[in-house]
């Protein structure tokens, strides 16, 4: 009995590298599924950026997102994109944000707006461009640029 307990203690420590991913993916899938309207999605993204809360729109990321920020660019997985943007918003604390131009109709909805943020006590700004695409009957974020 004691031995079995030891093994269980051991197991708890190693439990499920990646089990969580499935749960997260499922949660994401549900969230994306629930939000089928591009306009609504863009609104959620807008609010998420304004609050610097990436988790509010990270479920909408495509499996591969074209990300461009701080001179870096490339394709990143949805998980990486989430982390990268979280780190970005931790450093650049958003002060205000709203999309100034929308295109929420057609095959390629996008929105762009000016992000004002605080960096080391200084007020700075950057242009944000977000583009959506339809994948398997759902809208997903395929491009996220911050200039």
């Amino acid at each position: 009995m004691r031995f079995a307990s030891c093994i269980i203690v051991l197991f708890v420590s190693t439990l499920a590298f990646g089990q969580v991913h499935n749960l997260l993916d499922r949660r994401k899938a549900i969230a994306v599924h629930q939000t089928s309207d591009a306009a609504t999605m863009l609104q959620k993204i807008e609010k998420g950026i304004e609050r610097g809360s990436v988790s509010e729109f990270s479920p909408f990321f495509s499996s591969q997102v074209y990300l461009s920020f701080l001179g870096q660019e490339g394709y990143y997985s949805s998980n990486q994109t989430t982390s990268v943007l979280q780190n970005y918003f931790q450093t650049m604390k958003p002060l205000s944000f709203s999309f100034s131009s929308y295109q929420d109709k057609g095959n390629n909805p996008y929105a762009t707006g000016r992000l004002t943020y605080a960096l080391k006590g200084t007020r700075e700004s950057a242009q944000v461009y977000v583009s959506l695409a339809r994948q398997e009957s759902k809208w997903v974020i395929t491009q996220f640029n911050i200039y």
Partner: protein, 1290 residues
């Protein structure tokens, strides 16, 4: 408090308290520094500015000071100037050659200028066309100047030669920017250097209109030349009290976090050291686990060691996955996490591996145990799913190239990921090994032990697998993963325990080797599958990229570009240094998103009257621009206009936008037009994949293989980059059919094109035009996979080597060095001999690839140059026509026809080019390189190839002179494609071809070496084993010689030696036996003699009494009778004791419950007055195989000794437990103890301190215990008591 009594090491205690004290010190220092800063800020503020100014000025002086040192070096080259002064061609060529050496050595531009400012010899990138304006006019001999050339800024220093005939001018970049394509960005920034040196943001500018945008309070420092004239400015943001305080707080916070992390580690080690004394295994394991994860989580919260190391190692852009608590947000965090996990698992495995639980006796307990194990295995399979998922994230959530075939040794990030995979796999295998070893140990004690343990394990695991599949409808991983892991676990347990059964467990290094090798076997197939899956995902992303409408994105890029141009235009208008005619449009374009994203695009600036002021475009033909501009200016201002053109059968779109430019008072200054092409072209022609990319492409896991993009419309091919496909090729019926059936619109197909296999993804977007995009990825054959295997193998081998060295080092410190066996040495030698050629081949491969490429480049350049020359000579009439007619448009037309970009030089300066934008933007130098000038213009060599660089990219340029009627007219220059990339491609191919096969050979060599080593070493191992047997006293060993060589002779000699030893030993035994009998006879005689004396005296006394007829003869008779009876009893006891010692009865081995036997023995003494027995038995019964009666006699003997040692009464404590696979019985009394002087003899026969004993009891006991493989020891403290400890193997 004595901490060592709790098991805490002194270094740990010191470490912990030093950390605490240091934290306190850091806090105090930060308070003091902050307070000082506050109190003296009024005074220090100006000092702070002065300090920054001094730093800036000093840095600038160092910059040009270095240039003067270079100049002095060049000046000392008298041969250079002697050649230059010869004024003949040969001398000039020699001067150029020498100058080039100096330039390359010092990585700077060196110009030799005559006193009028004309450049007469040069080497390196051109800074200016002439130095007339910059030479000192006040009779000075030296000068310093800052020059701007496009986006680049240089500092130049010049010194006049003693003969006053030449100036030597050296230049180096202060600010370098290459904006086209990210691959060309290689910034050198003096501003950044100053920012790092001063700790505040610093920017350099040639005028005072620039300043740091976000800060209004910028201050500037003038940079002055040698005469004190201002030649540039540096702007900086001054420090404020707040920034100082924040910086102190940040610094102290960083130190505090670092020290806290260390303190937590020391604390955890201390608690772990205490916990090692806990009797409960469960408690020890729990403490270890909790401590491991306490440290890990604390470090994560404190951002340690991420904050300390930083860089890409801890950046999410390389790898990140969303595990709990951010434990896997980067490669570095992942490494620390899996290291903790592996440490935890392996430590627990190490603790539990020798644990042997008692067997299960009845069916009920067996069933309960089996159910428990099945549940555990279900849990374990769940864990394997997590493990497979983790490896998936290692591939999918990273931007790493696991399969870069051009490099034999993976980069540090990929290597770390391989380590992470190894650590994780080791953790999984440790858990499985613990469970399987448990099954192995328990199964033998069950009623079903006739079934092999591994079969029982397999049945239970199989059942668990079935149960898991029922519970989890979607397993999320290939089903062979848990089977593979389990099979490897069985092998591991067998290999580990097989050694154990031989009496000694495998060494640490051998265990590590087993774990690493089997982890490699488990992880590699899983990793390979995941990489392939990701490649497919990337192909899908690529297809989606092509199919996705890009209008909105391109419109955004264009409108954002206009915004940037407006912002920048205001500033540039007032920049007197700006060369508007040429580089204003480029300067504007370079700052736009169009440039940043690498689009084919352009900017044109017009004056108020509509006259074109400046134009810069990249990748757009003149015709395309004209067509777009016509439509653009027909449309409204700030409205994106689109034109569609058909090129190569496919539609291509171009986008344009124009806007007026006004000043602050809304006065019209001019206008600007922006152009953008949806297609994208690389710097030079010929790059297939980038030629049609709309945005950046995903990097493929395995580069250096063909990725072809094709487009079908209405069933026939309209465009493709696949070499073996042709225009109008019909779409295969198979794809058409599957497309019709598939609702997703995506179809995968494996197809053979030419002789190569491709995996193609056909994708059909919704729409009526019947468009199908195809992305085909060349499949890798087995050689490429083997190359990957080899690389991972080498990394793991390197790790193993490190482990072996560390283990050897520690073993040496403890004087416990275990050498590698003969077989191990042979295998290692074969392995090392197999690896050495690998590195030689690697080096050779690189050399050959480089040389082959050099030859190819020279050949290609030669034929390209001839082709260009033929076209030019065919179109141009004479030299005059050449100088006038060979303009940019002319070059562009020819380049488009023959597919080769080129430039034409008139002596040293650029005449025209098919890619003029590259020269306008200063990406390429518009001055002919010095050595090319010398060789082609002066020596008129037919071909000269020179290696040049743009940023970090190296490429080759071929130069050829053009003649009209044998008269030199100019030089044609043809640049190659990216040379480095080609070398890497060539290397990748060669690596796969050579090392892929080599891996097979190497694997065979290893297997063969093992077989050969096994055969060669078998006689030696048998000899060693036999020698061990002889050492243990078994002289019946005999080996059969298997060969007639030296080893066979050795075997025969060994056999002879053993036979002689046996004879000698028997002789010795006989002698000893005789001696023993003699000794025994003497002893028996002596012992018998002792009672005989009183008997004789008593009988004599009795006879005397009866002879004298004494009155008390009756009572004397009684007394004598008693004495005689006592002495006869004593004789009887003596006889019995000797009988026991001399001839022990036949042993009868049986399964003995040791605690039951102890209980029975204690009962015999329960009536002894004044003696109290206390028992502390183990919770579970302890069984062992022994002679029950013999053991009982041992216990009784010790109890009796204890009773006799406690004449006034006392306590005898009996304890039993299982420790390290042994049953340990401790019997303690509170008697008078054994004196030190006699302590060493208690187990000797005939030794006794008692008057009534023979001194044989403990000797017999020791012999009985030793005969069943046990030990008996004692500890005694006089007047306190004695403890006997009996240890018996279970």
């Amino acid at each position: 408090m004595k901490l060592h009594t709790y098991g805490i090491g002194r270094p740990v205690v010191w470490g912990f308290f030093v950390c605490l004290l240091s934290m306190g010190a850091v806090r105090i220092i930060s308070q003091v520094v902050s307070e000082n800063a506050r109190s003296s800020w009024a005074k220090d503020e100006s000092y702070s500015d002065l300090k920054i100014q001094a730093t800036v000025i000093q840095a600038f002086q160092e910059k040009y000071g270095e240039l003067f040192r270079i100049i002095e070096h060049v000046k000392s080259d008298s041969a250079l100037f002697a050649e230059l002064r010869r004024s003949d061609e040969q001398g000039t060529v020699e001067a150029f050659t020498r100058l080039s050496r100096h330039s390359q050595r010092f990585e700077s531009t060196i110009d030799i200028v005559d006193p009028r400012g004309t450049i007469v010899a040069w080497s390196g990138r051109s800074i200016t066309s002439g130095y007339e304006r910059f030479l000192p006019h006040n009779g000075g001999d030296s000068f310093v100047v800052i020059l701007q050339s496009g986006l680049h800024t240089y500092v130049s220093a010049g010194v006049l030669m003693e003969k006053k005939d030449f100036y030597v001018i050296a230049s180096r970049p202060l600010e370098l920017q290459f904006p086209i394509s990210n691959r060309f960005v290689s910034r050198i920034s003096f501003s950044d250097e100053l920012t790092r040196a001063t700790g505040t943001e610093v920017r350099i500018a040639l005028n005072t209109t620039s300043q740091i945008h976000s800060h209004e309070k910028t201050r500037f420092v003038p940079l002055r030349d040698l005469d004190g004239r201002t030649i540039a400015y540096t702007f900086f943001v001054p420090f404020t009290l707040n920034t100082i305080l924040q910086s102190v707080e940040a610094e102290s916070g960083q130190w505090t976090r670092f020290l806290t992390a260390l303190a937590v580690l020391f604390f955890a080690v201390a608690v772990w050291q205490i916990s090692r004394r806990f009797p409960s295994l469960l408690l020890r394991v729990t403490v270890l686990t909790v401590l491991t994860w306490l440290v890990r989580l604390t470090w994560r919260i404190l951002d340690f060691p991420g904050e300390l190391i930083g860089g890409n190692f801890f950046s999410a852009t390389v790898y990140s996955s969303p595990f709990y608590f951010g434990l896997t947000t980067s490669v570095g965090e992942l490494f620390v996490s899996v290291f903790a996990l592996c440490l935890n698992s392996v430590a627990i495995w190490y603790n539990l591996r020798d644990h042997k639980p008692s067997g299960l006796r009845d069916l009920k307990s067996v069933v309960a145990w089996v159910v428990g194990m099945v549940l555990f295995f279900v849990l374990f399979i769940w864990g394997v799913r997590g493990y497979a998922e983790a490896i998936r994230t290692f591939v999918f959530d990273s931007t790493l190239e696991y399969q870069d075939a051009s490099a034999l040794v993976p980069d540090v990030y990929v290597s770390t990921m391989y380590m992470n995979i190894l650590l994780l796999t080791t953790a999984v295998l440790s858990i499985l090994t613990v469970a399987l070893q448990h099954v192995r140990n328990v199964w033998r004690g069950t009623p079903f032990s006739s079934l092999p343990w591994w079969l029982a394990s397999t049945i239970m695991y199989g059942f668990s697998f079935g149960l898991f599949m029922l519970v989890s409808s979607s397993p999320h991983f290939p089903l062979y993963h848990p089977i593979l892991v389990f099979a490897v676990g069985l092998v591991l347990v067998e290999l580990l325990t097989r050694n154990n059964s031989a009496g000694s467990g495998p060494s640490f290094t051998k265990t590590a080797t087993l774990f690493i090798f089997l982890s490699f076997v488990v992880a590699m197939p899983i990793l390979d599958v995941r990489i392939h899956e990701k490649e497919r995902q990337q192909v899908r992303t690529l297809v989606d990229t092509f199919l996705r409408p890009v209008d909105s994105w391109l419109s955004f890029v264009l409108t954002d570009g206009l915004r940037t141009v407006r912002d920048q235009f205001q500033a540039s208008l007032f920049d007197p240094q700006e060369d508007r005619s040429n580089s204003m449009a480029f300067s504007l374009w370079a700052r736009t998103l169009m440039s940043h994203e690498g689009f084919n695009s352009g900017v044109i600036v017009y004056a108020q009257d509509g006259k074109e002021l400046s134009r810069f475009s990249v990748g757009m033909t003149t015709f395309e621009q004209k067509e777009l501009l016509n439509k653009l200016f027909d449309g409204e201002e700030e409205t994106v206009q689109v034109i569609e053109r058909v090129e190569s059968g496919a539609k291509e779109k171009s986008y344009g936008l124009w806007s007026s430019l006004r000043d602050e008072n809304n006065r019209l200054l001019g206008s600007v037009a922006l152009m953008l092409s949806a297609s994208q072209r690389a710097l030079f022609r010929g790059e297939a994949i980038e030629a049609i990319r709309p945005v950046s492409l995903p990097a493929f896991e395995s580069s250096f293989r063909e990725v072809a993009v094709s487009e079908f419309r209405r069933g026939s091919l309209v465009s493709t980059t696949m070499n073996d496909w042709y225009g109008s090729m019909p779409l295969s019926d198979d794809v058409m059919d599957r497309m019709a059936k598939e609702k997703t619109g995506y179809v995968w197909k494996t197809e053979i094109v030419g002789s190569r296999e491709f995996e193609s993804l056909y994708a059909a977007p919704e729409g009526p035009d019947g468009r199908i995009m195809v992305v085909s990825l060349e499949s890798h054959d087995l050689r490429w996979h083997l190359l990957d295997v080899l690389k991972v193998f080498m990394i793991y081998a390197a790790l193993l080597l490190c482990i072996a060295v560390v283990n050897w080092f520690f073993a040496k410190r403890k004087s416990e060095v275990t050498t590698i066996g003969f077989r191990g040495k042979l295998v290692s030698a074969f392995g090392i001999l197999g690896i050495i050629p690998l590195f030689l081949l690697g080096y050779y491969n690189r050399q050959v690839a480089s040389e082959r490429l050099q030859e190819n480049i020279t050949r290609t350049l030669s034929s390209d140059l001839e082709l260009v020359e033929q076209r030019i000579l065919g179109a141009v009439l004479d030299e005059e026509d050449f100088q006038r007619g060979v303009n940019n448009d002319f070059c562009e037309v020819i380049a488009a026809e023959i597919g080769v970009d080129f430039a034409v030089f008139r002596r040293s300066e650029l005449l025209s080019s098919s890619r003029p934008e590259l020269y306008q933007s200063k990406i390429l130098d518009s001055r002919l390189p010095g050595r090319a000038f010398a060789n082609v213009v002066l020596l008129e060599k037919a071909l000269y190839v020179e290696s040049e660089t743009v940023g970090e990219v190296e490429y080759a340029v071929g130069y050829k002179p053009v003649f009209f009627e044998r008269k030199f007219a100019g030089v044609i220059a043809v640049p190659t494609l990216y040379r480095q990339r080609e070398i890497e491609e060539e290397l990748a191919q060669r690596n796969a071809f050579v090392f892929g096969v080599y891996t097979l050979v190497f694997g065979l060599v290893l297997v063969m070496s093992f077989v050969v080593a096994n055969r060669l070493s078998r006689p030696i191992r048998e000899l060693t084993k036999a020698a061990d047997e002889v050492g243990k006293g078994n002289l019946d060993v005999s080996l059969k010689p298997t060969s007639s060589d030296e080893v066979g002779n050795l075997t025969r000699t060994f056999n002879e030696m053993v036979r002689e030893l046996k004879t000698s030993r028997e002789e010795q035994k006989r002698t000893e036996r005789e001696m023993a009998w003699k000794e025994m006879a003497k002893q028996v005689a002596h012992e018998i003699k002792n009672p005989l004396t009183p008997m004789r005296l008593s009988v004599q006394h009795l006879r005397q009494v009866f002879k004298e007829k004494a009155r008390n003869r009756e009572s004397i008779l009684q007394q004598v009778s008693k004495i005689l009876i006592d002495q006869i009893d004593a004789l009887s006891r003596i006889a019995t004791e000797f009988s026991r010692f001399a001839k022990m009865p036949e042993r009868k081995f049986e399964r003995v419950d040791i605690q039951e036997l102890l209980g029975e023995s204690v009962l015999l003494f329960r009536d002894v007055r004044g003696i109290e027995f206390r028992t502390k038995y183990s919770d579970t019964p302890i069984h062992l195989v022994a002679d029950k009666d013999e053991l009982r006699r041992v216990f009784i003997n010790i109890f009796r000794n204890g009773v006799q040692a406690m004449e006034r009464g006392g306590v005898i404590t009996v304890e039993s437990s299982v420790e390290s696979n042994c049953c340990v019985v401790r019997i303690s009394d509170t008697g008078i103890g054994i004196p030190h002087e006699t302590g060493s003899r208690v187990f000797e026969p005939n030794f006794s301190t008692k008057t009534d004993g023979m001194g044989l009891g403990l000797a017999i006991s020791q012999r009985a215990i030793q005969d069943i493989g046990g030990t008996i020891t004692y500890q005694s403290v006089p007047q306190i008591g004695t403890t006997f400890e009996i240890s018996l193997p279970v």
